[in-house]
């Protein structure tokens, strides 16, 4: 009888252990879905293609080397043509078709557009391109692992000051990033009492001759174009009008279409930019080697890809531990948010990063570069 009781007890323990093991196994996260929304066509493709490929590279590398306890990651890409209005439909599509858990998005306005949905869907949103004051005020599920918009574009303001220029005109594309960049520059110039004129242009405008001619007549000694490839036409038109003054651009200058539209007039333009020289050279070089090995070419501009690499890798390095560290009762978005906010020091290709309480990263610092020839740049300082 005693032996039977013992056997019964042991059997009960074994069954319970198996049951609990089975339950815990069922609660494990086996797969996670990443979505990407960015410009793959139409305009600003340099901000979409490179980052998409960079994230794909990071995801593939992770899946290939992941341990048994680590979840598989699926990656799905959508093209927003750099239109903020496409962000929400594309996000909805990604959720519906792939039930994405994390979305990487390049467009700041697009990031604002999907705010309500990501909270409802418990999706973590990472803007791997921009990091500005507006984005920092968005909901708790929004993270910005990128350069700071105001600071980056402020480089142009300081350059204008350093050069002792007196009258600056800024043409800008009508979106959040370019508007904020413009304002950051204006703020610096205002502080130094440098005259600054801002011209907001429609997004499809290609002929800026009238505005430029007017500026020439008004004696502007520096021309800033905060926008995309259409400003290539503007640069050409600047030179065609015989204007020889300094021309500045934004972070997206290194785009083939931009160069083509400018017909070479883009050369000598100065702009804030980021290359391997500005970040962790070892990690950045290693990343681009793998990038070229996988895709056969380097991305058009280094920084969007590097920022996307750091943002996705940082998220994945956290997710790796999901089945070890995440309590079963906590939703993955809550856990991931908490882990991201606890990131105080992350060695990225862009530099050492930390994430503040507002979900915005620190540690990516752009420098001033000069366009020296077709798709070639040179760091000024």
């Amino acid at each position: 009888m005693k032996v039977l009781k013992n056997i019964f007890g042991i059997s009960l323990i074994i069954v319970s252990s198996l049951a609990s093991f089975s339950c815990s196994d069922n609660q494990k996260v086996k797969e996670l879905n990443f979505g990407f929304i960015g410009p793959l066509s139409t305009r600003a493709t340099v901000l979409g293609i490179g980052p998409a490929k960079a994230i794909e590279l990071v995801v593939d590398e992770y899946n290939a080397n992941k341990k048994e306890n680590e979840p598989k990651i699926n990656f799905f890409i959508e093209d927003d043509k750099w239109e903020k209005d496409l962000a929400l439909p594309l996000y909805t599509k990604l959720r519906k078709e792939h039930n994405i858990d994390i979305v990487f998005i390049s467009n700041s306005d697009g990031t604002v557009a999907i705010q309500k949905n990501i909270i409802e869907d418990k999706v973590i949103c990472v803007n791997q391109l921009n990091n500005d004051e507006l984005l920092s005020k968005l909901n708790k599920n929004t993270f910005k692992i990128a350069k700071r918009t105001e600071e980056t574009n402020g480089i142009i303001g300081h350059r204008i000051t350093d050069l002792g220029l007196k009258k600056t005109v800024i043409f800008h594309f009508p979106n959040d990033f370019m508007t904020r960049g413009t304002n950051a520059v204006k703020k610096i110039l205002d502080k130094e009492n440098i005259e600054c004129k801002i011209i907001k242009v429609p997004k499809d405008q290609v002929d800026f001759s009238i505005e430029l001619e007017k500026c020439k007549d008004e004696g502007y000694d520096s021309y800033v174009f905060f926008g995309y490839k259409n400003f290539g036409f503007a640069m050409k038109q600047v030179r065609d009008l015989g204007i020889t003054n300094k021309v500045f651009g934004s972070t997206v200058l290194l785009e083939q279409a931009y160069y083509d539209n400018s017909e070479g007039a883009i050369v000598d333009s100065e702009f804030p930019f980021f290359t391997t020289l500005d970040g962790n050279k070892i990690l950045a070089t290693d990343f681009f080697d793998k990038y070229i090995e996988k895709f056969g070419e380097k991305p058009g501009a280094e920084w969007p890809a590097l920022q996307a690499r750091d943002a996705s890798k940082l998220v994945i390095d956290i997710i790796k531990e999901v089945n070890t560290n995440k309590p079963a009762e906590i939703h993955i978005s809550d856990w991931l948010r908490s882990e991201l906010l606890n990131t105080t020091y992350y060695k990225g290709a862009c530099g050492n990063l930390s994430i503040g309480e507002d979900g915005a990263s620190r540690g990516v610092y752009f420098s001033l570069y000069k366009y020296v020839s077709e798709m070639k740049v040179e760091k000024i300082k």
Partner: protein, 679 residues
């Protein structure tokens, strides 16, 4: 102490030692583990953070100095300074806060807090410099540059030095703590080794002592048990195992002794059973031998001799005699051994006289141990032997003595041998009785043969007598009848009516007597002169049909035969036809019916045929069923000679058959007879 207790105690002690070792080991290991965790997660990261802090502090100083000195490269320097301010320093501050939180050392807390305060001041002043020297243009403004340099040389340098000092002290304290923790860790490992060594050594010593003691306490009794088993195995069941300890093996020794006792008993029983079986086998063999010798049709003399020979051999008796009780209750010696042969059949002893007569009378064996001197001596060529014992056994058949066996034995028979005699006694009696019966039967057969011959002779004489008598009676009867006829014809008038009436009576009586004499003659001839052959009943019925047609017509009757009788038997055709004829004629004769009907039917009963002659005549009373088959027996209405049915009976019986009647007055009769198919 029992072995179970010894082993339980040993294992218990062993387990206690192991458990003690494990518990102490766990306690010390846990302590060591905790210490190691502190070193790994607190002290070493803290030391690393402090090193990093020092490095960052130095880098910041270098960068600020560079920024102050080079106006052209301030952008790159700015980025690096920002990286330190925004990423590196917050991270280090976090590490320091962690150290403060985890440490219990007041000094570490004090120095850490000092570092934090200084860092805060450095950060604030660094931002001030960055704001003052935002662009190249600011460098040419003496106030801004001068103020920046002052901040650097003043607040920043002072706090930087403070940071370095505090970091140095902190590192010292942490190194001490690290050293202390590592010493404690080392001590813990030493303690673990010591615990394992002490407990292990004590455990081994105790284990060895207990093992030796226990092994000895087990092996010694086992060896004794082994020796005892060998002794018992060699057949000494009286051997006793002596174990004095109070343990299981001692109990085993007791059980062993019990087992030896049981083994001894079992062996004795088996031996006894074996002997009994051998005796039974011997008895059975002896019985078979005796019965075999008595098989077949043996004479009394042969049986007597064989029985005597057998028992002489069985009892190893050198002398003996066998007596048979005759019809006149006298014992006659039928067989002798080692005795005067002339006395065979001569010695006659009446039952009840002498010792053998008494034995026969009382039907009880007599055993005489003290043989008298005058008793016959057993003579050999070497001398004379005197019988030690006389064994006299009456041979019984049922409850009657049929003989007496007398044996002079050299030893007294055993009980089993006497019992054997009792067992076979009756069988011998049966054999003797059968032999005697055979002897009587032979004598009776001889007498019967003689009687049969006499009877046949008498029978023949009787038949001759009957024939002669009948034949001789016919002549005077014919004379009487002739003269009666003459008187009727010639002296009719002379004798008158009354005389004529008397003459009529005389004629009738003469006629009847003539008929009876004829019948008597016929009856006497039956069975002696008839030829036997295959009987075809269809032929008999055809013959009878023709022969009796006149009678049937006269009676206005009807005679029915079976359509066809396929069965045939052996017999006398004439007698059987006569049998049917008598029965059919009687059927019509004793029938007052206007339409007398007689039917012959038959039934095949397997080994015989049963015929039935039925009529619708006057019938017969049941009391006459036997009488009618007797000769000269007629019933009240009797006509005929009274011989017909006796005739029928004789014919049927001469064919090994049987005849009987079933009838009811006024309703007719059924005469049955059966005839065997094979005769």
């Amino acid at each position: 102490m029992t072995i179970k207790r010894k082993l339980s105690f040993s294992f218990g002690l062993f387990i206690v030692l192991i458990a003690g070792t494990i518990v102490l080991n766990q306690i010390v290991s846990q302590k060591a583990e905790d210490r190691y965790e502190i070193i790994r997660t607190q002290i070493q990261p803290a030391i690393k953070s402090i090193d990093k802090y020092k490095q960052i502090n130095s880098s910041l100083n270098v960068l600020l100095k560079k920024k102050l000195e080079s106006k052209n490269d301030h952008s790159t320097t700015n980025n690096k300074i920002l990286s330190i301010l925004e990423v590196e320093i917050p991270n280090l501050i976090r590490s320091l806060k962690k150290i403060i939180k985890e440490t219990s050392s007041k000094k570490i807390k004090e120095y850490s807090s000092g570092v934090l305060l200084s860092t805060k001041s450095i950060t604030e002043h660094t931002y001030k410099i960055l704001n003052l020297l935002e662009s190249k243009k600011d460098y040419i403004k003496p106030k801004k540059l001068s103020e920046s340099k002052d901040i650097f040389a003043g607040e920043i340098t002072i706090h930087s030095n403070k940071v370095n000092r505090n970091l140095y002290r902190l590192k010292q304290l942490l190194n001490e703590s690290n050293f202390q923790s590592q010493n404690e860790l080392k001590k813990s490992f030493s303690q673990i080794s010591l615990i394992i060594f002490i407990f292990g050594t004590v455990g081994i010593i105790i284990g060895l002592i207990i093992a030796i003691k226990t092994i000895n306490s087990i092996i010694t009794p086992i060896n004794k048990l082994k020796d005892s088993a060998s002794i018992v195995g060699s057949g000494d069941y009286n051997h006793k195992l002596q174990l004095h300890a109070k343990d299981e093996l001692s109990e085993l020794g007791k059980s062993f002794n019990v087992m030896t006792g049981s083994l001894k008993n079992s062996f004795n029983i088996i031996q006894a059973q074996k002997e009994l079986q051998e005796r039974i086998n011997f008895t059975e063999t002896s019985k078979n031998k005796l019965y075999e010798s008595l098989k077949g049709e043996l004479s009394v003399e042969q049986i007597s001799k064989r029985v005597l020979d057998f028992f002489l051999n069985y009892y190893k008796a050198p002398m003996g005699a066998f007596h048979i009780i005759t019809e006149n209750n006298t014992l006659v010696c039928e067989a002798l051994f080692a005795f005067d042969k002339d006395k065979k059949n001569v010695i006659e002893t009446p039952v009840g006289r002498g010792i053998i007569g008494e034995a026969a009378l009382h039907k009880k064996p007599i055993l005489i141990d003290d043989v008298p001197d005058e008793y016959s001596k057993i003579k050999t060529t070497l001398g004379e032997l005197k019988a030690k014992c006389i064994f006299i056994v009456p041979i019984l058949h049922g409850n009657e003595s049929v003989g007496v066996l007398e044996l002079a034995c050299l030893t007294k028979p055993k009980d089993s041998e006497i019992e054997f005699m009792n067992q076979v006694n009756n069988s011998i009696g049966i054999a003797i009785n059968a032999a005697q019966g055979l002897r009587y039967l032979e004598e009776a057969h001889a007498k019967l043969e003689q009687s049969s011959e006499t009877l046949q002779l008498k029978n023949k004489e009787l038949e001759q007598f009957v024939y002669i008598t009948s034949h001789d009676l016919q002549e005077p009867l014919r004379t009487i009848s002739s003269y009666a006829d003459i008187l009727e014809e010639d002296f009719k008038d002379a004798v008158g009516d009354e005389g004529m009436q008397y003459i009529g009576f005389l004629q009738k009586a003469s006629k009847r007597l003539t008929t009876q004499i004829h019948s008597l003659l016929e009856l006497s001839k039956l069975g002696s002169e008839t030829k036997r052959g295959v009987i075809d009943f269809n032929t008999i019925f055809t013959n009878l049909h023709y022969e009796l047609s006149f009678l049937i017509k006269e009676k206005n009757g009807q005679l029915i035969f079976p359509p066809f009788v396929s069965e045939k038997i052996q017999g006398s055709p004439i007698e059987l036809q006569l049998l049917f004829q008598n029965l059919i004629v009687n059927a019509f004769k004793y029938n007052n019916n206007d339409n007398p009907t007689t039917e012959v039917s038959y039934m095949d009963n397997g080994d015989h045929l049963t015929f039935c002659v039925s009529d619708n005549g006057i019938g017969i009373k049941q009391r006459h069923f036997e009488k009618i088959f007797q000769i000269f027996q007629r019933l009240e209405n009797g006509e005929g000679s009274g011989i017909g049915l006796a005739h029928c009976k004789k014919i049927v019986e001469s064919h090994q058959g049987k005849i009987w009647v079933d009838s009811e007055p006024g309703k007719g009769s059924h005469f049955f007879f059966n005839l065997p198919k094979k005769q």
